[in-house]
């Protein structure tokens, strides 16, 4: 191992059993050159302060649990090299979420929004297993593949100014997910979801800030999804005007 360097890690702490409001705490720790930001947190938890609470699991940027604000930007802490930051690194819980404890935020609100878009294949008639897999060309797969890459890390919610200010807004990842199913050639539920998308707090609430896509660690480009969904919701609506009911 090479000579350990020192860094100051400033962490937002909050324990509802004891604290009125969140406060910050500083830890001065030795760091290794190949560490991710998460490694610093784990070092603090293991060796310095066992009471620090944060979520993580896969440490390979796929489970989506380790999102936090690092120097004011929403990041997956297991993906961010610590060496990319200065001598002092500030770590706070994800913005725009109620804070449960330390770096842990409440994600049930996200789960509610997530479910509201009916994120499952809807078909008029369910296909029997005996009929085997459906066919889908690589081109058809390509149309929605990108939008199926979301790991539900919620970084986009932390970045989106509309999420911050309009509690009804179901937000980028949820809309991207609904759009993912709408563009899947196997799905027949687009009419239903477009109806949802024209309801309160969905696609039209997005002001195309594009922040969601800037911070998405999986290149889902939720801003594209949300705005494509707007387009489709409007077209679907216009069709409904021209051919009432038949437009479905």
């Amino acid at each position: 191992m090479s000579e350990p360097q020192k860094k100051k890690i400033v962490i937002t702490r909050f324990d509802p059993d004891q604290d009125e409001v969140p406060k910050t705490q500083e830890y001065e720790i030795p760091v290794q050159p190949d560490w991710k930001v998460l490694d610093a947190l784990n070092f603090i938890k293991d060796e310095v302060d066992g009471s620090l609470s944060h979520r993580w699991s896969c440490r390979m940027a796929v489970c989506g649990s380790c999102g936090m604000m690092v120097d004011g930007e929403p990041k997956l802490t297991c993906k961010e090299a610590l060496s990319d930051y200065g001598d002092t690194v500030e770590i706070a819980p994800l913005a725009n979420f109620p804070i449960v404890r330390d770096l842990v935020v409440d994600l049930d609100g996200f789960m509610d929004k997530f479910k509201s878009v009916k994120p499952w294949i809807i078909r008029a008639k369910e296909r029997a297993v005996e009929e085997g897999p459906m066919r889908q060309s690589p081109e058809e797969l390509e149309e929605f593949k990108q939008f199926s890459m979301c790991i539900n890390c919620m970084l986009c919610y932390s970045a989106c100014p509309v999420v911050a200010n309009e509690p009804e807004f179901i937000g980028p990842a949820a809309i991207a997910l609904g759009h993912r199913y709408n563009t899947d050639s196997r799905d027949e539920g687009a009419a239903e979801r477009n109806e949802i998308f024209r309801g309160e707090g969905t696609v039209f609430s997005c002001s195309f800030a594009n922040e969601c896509s800037e911070v998405c660690p999986k290149h889902v480009d939720p801003a594209a999804a949300v705005n494509q969904a707007k387009f489709n919701a409007v077209i679907d609506w216009a069709q409904g005007l021209i051919l009432p009911r038949g437009g479905k």
């Binding site: 200010n165 009804e168 039209f204 002001s207």
Partner: protein, 117 residues
Amino acid sequence: MKHLLLKLEPIIWLLFGQGILLGTLLLTGWVLVVGVLAPLGITPLLSFSDAHELAATLIGRVVLAALIALPLWKGAHHLRHVFIDLGGADRDATVAPLLYLIALAGSVAGVLAVIRL
């Protein structure tokens, strides 16, 4: 009111979108000449009579109506977002209709203006 607003959302969004798209296309040359170059005397401007003659054609009227109305919708919609971003989501039900009414009034006036040319 909230319900009505929700129902109209697709139209408003269409107008807003065209406000950005067509609005920007049309406004660039318009502001450049009418607002900057001509007043500074760098370029000439159409005389009143030429302008009137051109504007009164069918295409002229349509373009001018768009030039007036579309930016209003882009403006109203974006100001609504500014207001929400400033923390006003709870009063959106009042503010949004107000802003859209302004845009609507302006649009109606715009149509009148091109009709009476």
